[in-house]
């Protein structure tokens, strides 16, 4: 029997009964996911809040085997959750999203996701997710086993060997198979290739203090020279094995690499913008001996923040350090928990200076965290509520603008890093207090007032739009009464939709039919109350179609190829 303290069910039934935590703010997807997972015979817990998920995970580290999380959530960015879980609990995390954009997927992987699934999730994909658990366990146990053999009780090593042999023959066999595959990984991972063992030791929790010690030790040694054994000695913590340190070190390095690429750009920003020098030069007791000025800036920007989820506050220099780098600061927020104090590393990773616009582009390549941060502004929810006051009013998130607007952003961001980074840190507290809500409760004033002040259609306006398949030529803008707006939302209450479209005056040269709507009531295509094809009895549509033949043929978009069909289908008689 595998020594699985965490498992309730006998592990030879694995993957049956694998304990999954599912996190998604969308109730439909969550419900579906739950049902699918149950169908796969997993044990499922669900929550719609990332914060709750973290609490559950922290409450009992060993209670879950796997986490599946949506990427876009209002209270916390999925990637951040991913990182926190990876750091604190070392559980495999699978990301889920409706958006399969390559950049997002890349982000997911770099943040440490085991897998990235697209919605709608299919049961076939879920049936295989257990592999991530096994893989991780396999690697972990191999690490630990090698440490056993090396510095600790050999009993365990031997015991593990024999313990593994029988009761879990199935799993053991899987591991042997995996061993062959994993050899390459192992080499890269700086772990020795010992015989695979299923010996499981309790997970090590990298608490704040532990991590601080770790970082201090690493800094003392110098990142390049930091070897797990020496770190272990310096840390002088009982019950910590060399392998624990080794795997943690590896993660740490990855994070640093990631920050440094961001940080170096930040440093360039700072340098380019010529922020105030003195505040940046205040150092932390950690050994910063070999710094250049810009490195200092970026180091200060990367204040020590413990990974365990409870981040220390930023010092002033760091605050200021972050401020100029506003969007990069924002991006930093997204990766807040990976900011480490190790200045040495950041120096090493500092490539050439990047021009601001390049950095801007890079940041634009990370829409998720930016979006998230933007929402933070919008709601003024973060600790630094005056965050980007300039951004609050505009609907967009102008990255380049921030770069140039150091003064305003400095004031706005003066409290940003502190607030936001602590926010990141005190994920549990802050975020519960300050609900990062996407604006789902925005005022529905529109329902009551008509504010349709759109300068309606020049035909050209929509030409570059694939959606422009259907243009509503609302001749009578003012005619949209509040009543109609209201009714739009009383969906399906109007039967007189399109009643007026009997006049298929196709004035547009566009290849598709447009509805010339004289009567305001017909402006909206929503008013589609009939159960039957709402388009029945709308002779206008028929004639539109026939007049135009197949108007959609030259309309674009692979993505909208089906949309053409949609529109075509809409007008077809069935």
């Amino acid at each position: 029997m595998i020594v699985e303290k965490r498992r309730d069910e006998p592990s030879d039934q694995f993957p049956v009964g694998m304990r999954v935590l599912a996190v998604d703010d969308d109730p439909i997807c969550l419900r579906l996911l739950e049902t699918l997972l149950r169908k796969c015979q997993y044990h499922v817990t669900t929550t719609s809040q990332a914060i709750t998920a973290l609490e559950m995970l922290r409450e009992n580290k060993n209670y879950f085997d796997l986490v599946i999380s949506d990427v876009h959530m209002p209270d916390m960015d999925g990637f951040k959750l991913l990182e926190l879980v990876g750091l604190e609990m070392d559980l495999p995390v699978i990301m889920l999203s409706a958006n399969g954009d390559t950049r997002l997927v890349m982000q997911g992987i770099t943040h440490g996701a085991c897998d990235y699934l697209l919605k709608p999730v299919r049961i076939e994909e879920l049936k295989n997710i257990w592999q991530h658990v096994v893989r991780r366990r396999h690697l972990d146990s191999r690490d630990r086993n090698s440490s056993n053999i090396k510095d600790k009780s050999f009993v365990k090593g031997n015991g593990a060997g024999s313990a593994n042999s029988d009761p879990d023959a199935k799993l053991g066999k899987k591991r042997k198979d995996q061993n062959g595959d994993d050899d390459d990984e192992q080499d890269e991972n700086e772990h020795e290739n010992e015989d695979p063992s299923s010996q499981k030791k309790p997970r090590v929790v990298w608490s704040v203090e532990l991590h601080r010690k770790f970082v201090a030790a690493v800094n003392q040694l110098g990142l390049d020279k930091a070897v797990p054994k020496k770190i272990l000695e310096l840390m002088n913590v009982e019950k910590l094995t060399r392998e624990n340190v080794a795997s943690h070190l590896q993660k740490y390095r990855l994070y640093l690499r990631r920050i440094s690429s961001v940080a170096s750009q930040q440093a360039n920003m700072v340098a380019a913008l010529g922020g105030p020098d003195s505040p940046y030069l205040r150092m932390d007791p950690v050994n910063f001996s070999d710094f250049s000025g810009s490195a200092q800036l970026q180091n200060n920007a990367l204040r020590p923040i413990s990974p365990a989820g409870v981040h220390g506050k930023l010092n002033t220099p760091a605050r200021l350090g972050l401020h100029v780098l506003s969007p990069s600061g924002m991006v930093q927020l997204g990766h807040c928990q990976i900011l480490r104090s190790s200045v040495n590393e950041s120096i090493k990773y500092q490539p050439g200076l990047l021009p601001i616009d390049q950095a801007g582009t890079i940041f634009q390549g990370m829409p998720t965290s930016l979006e998230f941060d933007h929402f933070q502004h919008k709601k003024g929810v973060i600790g630094g509520e005056e965050l980007h006051p300039s951004n609050n009013n505009s609907g967009t998130f102008p990255i380049s603008r921030n770069f140039s607007d150091s003064s305003s952003s400095s004031s706005s961001l003066a409290s940003l890093p502190n607030g936001s980074l602590t926010m990141q840190g005190h994920v549990e507290d802050r975020q519960s207090r300050k609900a990062f809500q996407i604006n789902s409760d925005s005022p529905h004033h529109l329902l009551d007032h008509c504010r349709w002040h759109i300068p309606i259609p020049q035909q050209t306006a929509a030409t570059n739009l694939s959606i422009s398949h259907l243009r509503l030529e609302t001749q009578n803008q003012a005619g949209l009464t509040s009543d109609m707006m209201q009714n739009k939302l009383d969906i399906c209450n109007h039967a007189d939709f399109l009643s007026d479209s009997g006049n298929p005056s196709m004035t547009t040269q566009a290849a598709y039919p447009c509805l010339r709507v004289e009567d305001p009531k017909c402006t909206s295509m929503v008013l589609h109350g009939n159960t039957g094809l709402g388009l029945t009895g709308q002779p206008g549509f028929d004639s539109l179609v026939t007049e135009q033949g197949r108007p959609y043929s030259d309309y674009m978009g692979n993505e909208l190829g089906s949309l053409e069909d949609v529109v075509a289908a809409m007008f077809k008689r069935v």
């Binding site: 969308d26 109730p27 439909i28 997807c29 933007h374 609907g395 694939s466 949609v566 289908a569």
Partner: protein
């Protein structure tokens, strides 16, 4: 007699479903939903779809509010809402709704207000149609169950 009604209703339902598939309103994901319905979750489909209706109407209201709220709409927020709408629509197999969301998102990425408004109109239309049809379907199912129940009093669904 009553048995015939049940059979008739079943046939009607199948016809309606076939129609919806043909029109591209629904896709295979909806079938997956149906397959997940069993004795342990007998009303799974209607439960999920009702949640979908509820959420979607909220999303649509918000989208409209965002777009109509003055000169400058918050396209990022719109994008986030659309993302959720896309996710939920694709999860229940609402193919056309999802496609319109995709177009809508393209418009919002370009900050194209007019395009967004048109997309919104279309989205509302598609959603409305879908809702009507699904409600019709559920109604037929209810009637069918009743009819079948009456015919075979021993078998209670």
């Amino acid at each position: 007699m009553l048995g015939l009604a049940a059979e008739q209703l079943r046939a009607d339902m199948n016809r309606l479903l076939a129609l919806l598939f043909h029109q591209g309103v629904l896709d295979e994901q909806f079938l997956q939903l149906q397959q997940l319905q069993d004795e342990s979750s007998p009303n799974f489909v209607s439960e999920v779809v009702n949640i979908y209706f509820h959420e979607s109407e909220k999303l649509l209201r918000n989208l409209r509010a965002f777009l109509m709220d003055g000169e400058f709409s918050d396209y990022k927020k719109i994008g986030m809402h659309l993302n959720q709408f896309m996710g939920s629509s694709s999860s229940i197999g609402a193919k056309r709704v999802r496609n319109v969301c995709v177009a809508f998102r393209a418009a919002s990425d370009q900050n194209n207000r007019i395009g967004c408004i048109r997309a919104l109109e279309m989205l509302e239309h598609e959603y409305c149609y879908l809702k009507n049809k699904l409600l019709e379907l559920f109604q037929m199912e209810q009637q069918r169950v009743l009819a079948a129940g009456v015919r075979y009093p021993a078998q209670h669904n």
